[in-house]
C-alpha cells in the first residue's frame, strides 16, 4: 500500500490495472485522460491548473509512446480552437485553462466549437479560480455552459469521482456530440488522495497512428450560416435530450440518504464534502457520508435532467439548493422545472445562503441552520458551533486589538522586474505621477507596497489596449506594463498592433524575463530554446520593429539609472507614437535554479568561482528604511540595532541575497546613504587572487596602525 505513494509523480501516470494511484487531483485528471484514450492534449497555464500542463509537458516521452499529441498553446483561444480536431475526426481531445479568465479568452472559439458539435470526445478541464487563494475576478464558468450549450461537470472532490467524471465526460461528449467542461475548484485541484488505476489506452488514431485522409467536405460541420441555424436547433432538439438520457442512465448524479423525507438538499458535487461535514456536525450525516437527509448531488450541473429533479422533489415540502456564486442558475432552473411540473416544493437557496463568496463550512452551516429552522427542525450542535465560533471570533478580535499587516505576494528576491518599479517610483518623485496601466503577471505585484503603482487591470496582455483612450485624453503619456507572457498571449495584437495602427502616443514597458513566470515558469514563444524547454527564441524586438513601432529601446532592468533615463526619454520624447521599452532581465527564480547547483558543483570541484551579495553596514545605517521603500526585496529586511543609543531597527540584507545589485543601484540612483556594500566572495581563489590580497592586506596593515580613530588595535586583515 505504502510503496506506490512514493513513486514520483510522472511515474504514477504509467500505473496499470490493479495498482493504486496516489497523488493530487490534477495529476489524477491527467492519468484519467490517458486511461480514456485521449489523442491530443493542450492548454494554457494558470493556477490552479498550471500543474496539469506542467505534468503533460514533462511527460512528453510517455505521451509520445501513447501517440498523444501535445500542444503548448499561446492562449486559451488557441486551446479551445484546437478542440476543432474533434469536429471532423473521431479523436478524443482535452485542453485545460484557468477560469473565468481563460474561458473569456476562449469564448469565440468555444461558441463556434459548441455550435458545430463534435464526434470525438472533447473535454475542457477548468480550474475554477474562486474563493480563498483565487487571483482573478470572481465569476462563474457556469454562464458559458448555459449560453453555448456546453455540458458542465462539477464532481465530488475525491479522486475516484473526479477520475470517473473525466472518463464519463468523454463518453457524454461523444453520446451528445457536445464539448464537456470539467470544473475543479482550487482545493480540488490540489487534493491528495487515491484511486484504483486502470491501464492507459492508446487512441485508435493519434500522432503514432495517423488518420490516412482528411475529412470529406461537409458544410454542416462549419459554424457558418446557414448551417448555424440548423446547429442551434440540433443543440436543443437532439444533443440536449441525448445528454440528459446519458446522465440518467450512467447515474452521473448521485442520491444520498433516505429516499423519502419532508426536506431535501440539492448540492453541486464540488461542495459535497463541505456540506457533509456540517451535516455530520448537525447529526444528519457521518464521516462516511451516510446522510439522513435526502441529498441529490449534481456531478453534472448543466444540463439538469428535469425528470430527475421532479422525482427528487416530489413529496418534499422544501428543498435547499447549495450553489456557490452568482447568478443562481441552478436555483432558477429548478424553480422553473418544479413550476412546470406543478410541484409545490418550496425552494431555499440564496435566501438563506449568501449570493457572493466561497461556501466555507461556516457559511454553509449558517445557511443550513436557517433552512432547518424554517422547516421546523433543529440542529442544536450546529447552532452551538456557530455561536461558539462567533463568540471565539469576538474574543480574538478583542485580544488582537489592531488589525494585522497584510502579506500580499511580492517579487522574489532578486527579481528583474522590481528595479523597473524602483525606477518608476523615483521618476514619479521627479516628474510627478503618470497613468499606469497594469497587467496580469508577476509585475502586477508592482500594485502592492512599496511601489503601489497601477490605475487599472483589464486582463492578460490588455494593458496597452486599456490605455488607448487614456493616451488620447491626457496631457502626460500613460505607461503600460506588460509581461512577455502577456505580450504573446494577447498584447501583441490587441495592444501593439492596435496602438501602431491608431498612432497612439503611449509608452509600453515589456518585461522580458523569458518565461511565463507567475504561473510557474512555463516556456513561451520567446523563451530561449534549451535542452528541456519548448521555447523557440522568438524575438520580441524584431517582432515590434516589423510591426512598424517607431521607438523601441532595450534596457537591462537592474540598471536603475539607465531605466530611469530610458523611461524619461520615452515619456518626454518629441517623437509621437508608441514607444516601447523592452526591459531585459531573466526571471531570477529560473536563473537561480540553474546557477545555484552549477556554483555549488564548481565550488566543490575546487574551481575558482565568484558570487556577489550585498550587505548593510549596521554602524552607518540610520534606520530610515528609504532603501526598503524603493525595493521591497524579501532579502532586504530589518533587524534590531545593537547600538544602545539607536533603538530603531536598521536595514539588513539576509543570506537569501542573490546579489542582483538593486540595493546598490537604488542607493546610487536615489542618493540614499553610504550604508550599502557589495561583497564579492571568491571561492577557491587562485594564486593571482591570493597575491593581490596579500599585498593589499600588508599595505592596509601598514596604514591601519591607528585607523578607525579608536587608536588601539591595528587594522586586522581578513582571514584567508
Amino acid at each position: 500500500m505504502a510503496e506506490v505513494s512514493f513513486h514520483s509523480e510522472i511515474k504514477s501516470l504509467t500505473l496499470s490495472s490493479g495498482d493504486t494511484f496516489r497523488g493530487e487531483g490534477i495529476l489524477a485528471v491527467t492519468k484519467a485522460l490517458l486511461q480514456s484514450g485521449v489523442a491530443y492534449v493542450g492548454g494554457y497555464q494558470g493556477a490552479p491548473v498550471s500543474h496539469l500542463l506542467d505534468v503533460l509537458v514533462q511527460s512528453e516521452d510517455l505521451l509520445s509512446e501513447l501517440g498523444v499529441h501535445l500542444e503548448t498553446c499561446t492562449n486559451e483561444a488557441a486551446a479551445a480552437a484546437m478542440l476543432g480536431a474533434s469536429i471532423n475526426y473521431p479523436l478524443r481531445g482535452a485542453v485545460t485553462w484557468k477560469s473565468i479568465v481563460g474561458t473569456n479568452v476562449a469564448a469565440d472559439a468555444l461558441s463556434n466549437l459548441a455550435s458545430a458539435g463534435v464526434i470525438g470526445g472533447a473535454l475542457i478541464v477548468i480550474g475554477e479560480d474562486y474563493g480563498e487563494g483565487a487571483s482573478v475576478i470572481q465569476e462563474r464558468t457556469h454562464a458559458f455552459a448555459l449560453k453555448s450549450s456546453l455540458w458542465l461537470l462539477d464532481p465530488r472532490p475525491n479522486l475516484p469521482t473526479i477520475v470517473r467524471m473525466v472518463e464519463k465526460g468523454f463518453e457524454l461528449s461523444e453520446a451528445s456530440n457536445t464539448p464537456v467542461m470539467l470544473e475543479l475548484r482550487i482545493r480540488a485541484c490540489h487534493v491528495y488522495g487515491s484511486f484504483d488505476a486502470k491501464d492507459n489506452v492508446a487512441a485508435k488514431f493519434s500522432a503514432k497512428h495517423k488518420i490516412p485522409s482528411p475529412a470529406v467536405f461537409e458544410y454542416d460541420r462549419l459554424s457558418h450560416p446557414p448551417a448555424t441555424f440548423v446547429q442551434e436547433k440540433h443543440k436543443m432538439e437532439q444533443r440536449l435530450p441525448k445528454a440528459q438520457k446519458f446522465i440518467l442512465e450512467h447515474k452521473l448524479n448521485e442520491v444520498f440518504g433516505p429516499e423519502n423525507g419532508d426536506t431535501g438538499i440539492i448540492v453541486q458535487g464540488g461542495l459535497f464534502n463541505v456540506l457533509n461535514g456540517r451535516l455530520a456536525l448537525a447529526g444528519l450525516s457521518d464521516s462516511f457520508g451516510n446522510m439522513k437527509v435526502p441529498t441529490l448531488v449534481l456531478n453534472v450541473t448543466h444540463p439538469l435532467v428535469p425528470e430527475q429533479i421532479v422525482k427528487f422533489c416530489a413529496g418534499k415540502k422544501s428543498v435547499l439548493i447549495v450553489e456557490e456564486g452568482n447568478p443562481e442558475f441552478i436555483e432558477q432552473a429548478v424553480g422553473q422545472i418544479l413550476r412546470k411540473a406543478v410541484l409545490n416544493t418550496k425552494i431555499f437557496g440564496k435566501d438563506v445562503l449568501p449570493s457572493a463568496g466561497e461556501y466555507t463550512p461556516l457559511v454553509i452551516a449558517r445557511g443550513l441552520t436557517k433552512f432547518l429552522e424554517a422547516n421546523g427542525s433543529k440542529a442544536p450542535a450546529l447552532t452551538d458551533w456557530i455561536a461558539q465560533t462567533d463568540a471565539h471570533q469576538k474574543e480574538i478580535d478583542g485580544a488582537l486589538g489592531s488589525p494585522l499587516p497584510p502579506r500580499p505576494p511580492t517579487f522574489c528576491t532578486g527579481c528583474p522586474e522590481r528595479p523597473v518599479f524602483s525606477a518608476m517610483k523615483l521618476l514619479k518623485q521627479e516628474m510627478g505621477p503618470v497613468h499606469v496601466a497594469a497587467d496580469i503577471g508577476c509585475h502586477a505585484f508592482g500594485t502592492f507596497a512599496p511601489f503601489s503603482q497601477g490605475n487599472s487591470i483589464l486582463g492578460y496582455g490588455m494593458s496597452l489596449a486599456s490605455a488607448a483612450a487614456v493616451s488620447g485624453t491626457q496631457k502626460q503619456r500613460p505607461v503600460s506594463i506588460m509581461g512577455d507572457g502577456g505580450f504573446w498571449h494577447n498584447g501583441l495584437l490587441s495592444g501593439v498592433a492596435g496602438a501602431v495602427f491608431n498612432k497612439d502616443d503611449s509608452v509600453l514597458v515589456i518585461m522580458n524575463n523569458g518565461y511565463s513566470s507567475a504561473t510557474g515558469l512555463q516556456d513561451i514563444p520567446s523563451s530561449a530554446p534549451e535542452k528541456d524547454g519548448r521555447g523557440n527564441g522568438l524575438e520580441i524586438e524584431s517582432t515590434l520593429k516589423s510591426l512598424g513601432v517607431p521607438w523601441v529601446k532595450r534596457q537591462r532592468t537592474y540598471g536603475v539609472e539607465g531605466m530611469m533615463n530610458t523611461l524619461r526619454d520615452a515619456l518626454t520624447s518629441d517623437k509621437k507614437g508608441l514607444k516601447v521599452v523592452i526591459a531585459d532581465g531573466e526571471c531570477q527564480l529560473a536563473r537561480q535554479r540553474r546557477v545555484k547547483p552549477a556554483f555549488a558543483r564548481l565550488k566543490n570541484e575546487g574551481k575558482r568561482v565568484e558570487r556577489t551579495r550585498f550587505w548593510v553596514d549596521p554602524d552607518v545605517c540610520t534606520g530610515d528604511h528609504s532603501c526598503i521603500r524603493l525595493s521591497g526585496c524579501p532579502s532586504l529586511t530589518i533587524k534590531p540595532n545593537e547600538d544602545p543609543l539607536r533603538p530603531d531597527p536598521i536595514a539588513h540584507v539576509n543570506n537569501d541575497c542573490v546579489g542582483c545589485g538593486l540595493c546598490g543601484e537604488v542607493a546610487h540612483a536615489a542618493q540614499l546613504c553610504p550604508s550599502f556594500a557589495e561583497i564579492k566572495v571568491i571561492e577557491n581563489p587562485n594564486i593571482l587572487d591570493r597575491l593581490k590580497h596579500r599585498i593589499s592586506s600588508a599595505l592596509i596593515r601598514l596604514m591601519g596602525g591607528n585607523s578607525g580613530g579608536s587608536g588601539k588595535a591595528p587594522m586586522p586583515v581578513p582571514a584567508e
Binding site: R278, T360, G401, T410, P644, I679, M703, S710, P718
Partner: protein, 504 residues
C-alpha cells in the same frame, strides 16, 4: 458503525519554506502507518513569497473498504494540530478562527519574516512579538513556541524538517515516530540534513517550551574608566549616566575628549533643573549623543575602515573559511556632502553658486573598495580629517541645530516637563543622509516653527502642548511626502482662531 472522527491538521507557511514537502511527509507517514489521509492546499502563486496553507485530515482505516468523506476546508474550532512557520502568520491563523483553546495543539516558530509594511516604516514599524505570543498561548490548548528557524540553522538543516520533528515529538498525531523518519528517507532528498533537523525539532518538543532568548542591547554598567567618564557618573542620575557613558565614549571616538566634555556640559545644564527627571535626562543623553555624532563624510570613512569590520562582514555574509572577499562601498556624495566640509563662509558661497547653476542634484557615483589598498587609503585619509571637522560648515550647522533643539527643550522644561520630553524626542526625526536628512530637517523645522514655538509663545492652548508635539513627530514619520504633518499643522493653526471667535 463507529463514526471515526478524523484528526485535522493545518499548516501555515510562507512560499519557499517547504510547506508542501512538510505536508507530503506527514501524509506519507500517515498512509504508511495504515491510516487514510487526505490533504489539500491553497498554494498561492508560484512566487516564493506570500502566505500558503495546507490542510490534512487523517482517519484510521475502517478496514471494510469504506472511504470517509474528508473535508477540504478547515472549519473554525475543529483543527487539532496547527503547524506554523512564522509568528505573524500563526497569529493570522488564530485571527481566522482556526485555533481553539479546547482542541488545538499549536507548534509554531517565533521567528519573524517582516512584512513590507513593517519594514518600510520610517522608524520602527514592527508588531509587538510578545503580544502575538500571548495571544497564541491564550487561544491554543498547548503551544510549543520557539525559534524553529534558529533550531534549523543550528542543526544545519531546514525549517520544515525541524517542524516535522517537533510534530512527532509532541505526539499529537496517532503516528509512530519512525514513520516520520521513514517519510524523510523515502522522499530521498537531503536525507541526512532533514533527519538532523527532525531530531533537533523532536528534542525541542520533548523538552517542552524552550525559554525564548532575546538579544537586547546590553549596556555597560556605569563604571567610569577615565576622568571624563567619572564626571558623567558623578553629575548625572544613574539611569542617564548609563547612556551618557556610552555617549561620552561615542563622542571621544567621534572627535575627542573636549567634544565629549561639551556633551556633558550640555547635559549638566539640564541635570541641575528640578523639572528634569531621570527619564527625561536619559532620552536627552541618548539623542544628544546621536545628533552630536552626526554622520558626515569623515565619520562615514572612519566607520568603514573600523577594525573588526571585515570579520563581521565575513561572519554576517556566511563566507566560508577558504574564500576571499572583496568589498565595494556604494557612495554618492553630492555637492552638499562635499562642500559642507569647507569653512562656512566659503562653503556657503560655493553652494549658492552651485544652486544657481542648477547643479545641486548632481553627485559623484563612487564604488570604493575597502579591501583594496587604494580604496582604503582614500577613506583612511578622509577619516584622518577629524581635526578639521570643527571648522566645517556641516559642523557649524549641526551645532546651531543642537543649540536650538536644546534651547527649545530648556524653555519647554520649565513650563511643561511632559511636553519637554516630547520636544526632546523630536530629534529622532533628524537622521540619515542626503534626501533623508533634508526631509528630516525640513519636518523638524516645521515642527519647531509651527508647533513648538507657538506653544512656547502661548499662542496655542497649553494643555495640548505635549500631545501636539508627539502627534507631529508621529505624523512626520508616517509618510515620506510630509502630508500628514502638514495637515496637523493646518489643524493647529485653526485652533486659536476658533478660540478667539468663541471669546468674541
Amino acid at each position: 458503525m463507529q463514526d471515526a472522527r478524523p484528526v485535522r491538521l493545518l499548516i501555515a507557511a510562507l512560499g519557499g519554506e517547504g510547506g508542501g514537502v512538510l505536508a507530503s511527509w506527514i501524509t506519507n507517514a500517515a498512509v504508511a502507518a495504515g491510516h487514510v489521509a487526505q490533504r489539500t492546499s491553497i498554494p498561492g502563486v508560484a512566487q516564493r513569497t506570500g502566505a500558503t496553507t495546507y490542510y490534512l485530515e487523517i482517519v484510521p482505516d475502517s478496514g471494510n473498504g469504506e472511504m470517509p468523506v474528508l473535508a477540504l476546508n478547515p472549519a473554525p474550532g475543529e483543527v487539532d494540530v496547527m503547524l506554523a512557520s512564522e509568528l505573524l502568520e500563526t497569529t493570522r491563523a488564530v485571527q481566522a478562527g482556526s485555533i481553539t483553546p479546547s482542541r488545538t495543539h499549536l507548534i509554531a516558530s517565533t521567528h519573524r519574516v517582516f512584512t513590507v509594511e513593517e519594514k518600510s516604516a520610517m522608524a520602527d514599524g514592527r508588531i509587538d512579538p510578545q503580544r502575538m505570543q500571548s495571544v497564541l498561548r491564550q487561544f491554543s490548548k498547548s503551544a510549543l513556541l520557539a525559534d524553529l528557524a534558529a533550531t534549523a540553522r543550528g542543526a544545519n538543516s531546514q525549517l520544515n524538517a525541524v517542524m516535522l520533528g517537533a510534530l512527532a515529538g509532541t505526539k499529537a498525531l496517532p503516528i509512530a515516530d519512525d514513520y516520520f523518519r521513514a517519510a524523510i528517507r523515502t522522499e530521498g532528498k537531503a536525507i541526512d540534513a532533514n533527519l538532523r533537523g527532525f531530531e533537533a525539532g523532536y528534542a525541542l518538543a520533548a523538552q517542552g517550551n524552550a525559554a525564548e532568548e532575546r538579544s537586547m542591547p546590553v549596556l555597560r554598567a556605569p563604571r567610569a574608566e577615565n576622568q571624563i567618564e567619572a564626571r558623567a557618573v558623578r553629575t548625572l542620575p544613574r539611569e542617564a549616566a548609563e547612556i551618557a557613558l556610552e555617549g561620552v565614549r561615542r563622542l571621544t571616538d567621534y572627535q575627542n575628549k573636549s567634544y565629549a566634555a561639551l556633551y556633558l556640559d550640555r547635559l549638566e545644564r539640564f541635570a541641575r533643573k528640578p523639572e528634569a527627571d531621570s527619564n527625561f535626562l536619559r532620552e536627552l543623553a541618548r539623542l544628544l549623543a546621536v545628533r552630536m555624532s552626526f554622520e558626515d563624510t569623515i565619520r562615514v570613512a572612519q566607520l568603514k575602515i573600523r577594525e573588526g569590520r571585515i570579520e563581521r562582514l565575513r561572519r554576517e555574509s556566511g563566507t566560508s573559511e577558504g574564500a576571499l572577499i572583496r568589498v565595494s562601498e556604494f557612495m554618492k556624495p553630492g555637492p552638499e556632502e562635499i562642500f559642507s566640509m569647507l569653512p562656512p563662509s566659503l562653503a556657503r558661497r560655493i553652494l549658492a553658486w552651485i544652486e544657481k547653476r542648477g547643479w545641486s542634484e548632481r553627485s559623484i557615483k563612487m564604488k570604493v573598495s575597502t579591501t583594496n589598498v587604494f580604496g582604503f587609503l582614500r577613506l583612511r585619509l578622509l577619516s584622518g580629517l577629524r581635526w578639521w571637522r570643527p571648522r566645517t560648515l556641516r559642523f557649524a550647522e549641526e551645532n546651531a541645530w543642537a543649540e536650538r533643539w536644546l534651547d527649545l527643550a530648556e524653555r519647554t522644561l520649565v513650563r511643561d516637563p511632559e511636553a519637554a520630553k516630547a520636544v526632546v524626542a523630536t530629534a529622532s526625526l533628524v537622521k540619515g543622509y542626503g534626501e533623508t536628512m533634508k526631509r528630516g530637517l525640513k519636518n523638524w523645522n516645521l515642527l519647531a516653527d509651527f508647533v513648538i514655538e507657538p506653544f512656547l509663545e502661548g499662542k496655542l492652548p497649553r494643555e495640548q502642548f505635549a500631545d501636539a508635539v508627539t502627534q507631529g513627530r508621529i505624523a512626520a514619520l508616517k509618510d515620506a511626502d510630509g502630508k500628514p504633518l502638514g495637515a496637523l499643522i493646518e489643524s493647529l493653526r485653526a485652533l486659536p482662531r476658533q478660540q478667539q471667535i468663541a471669546a468674541e
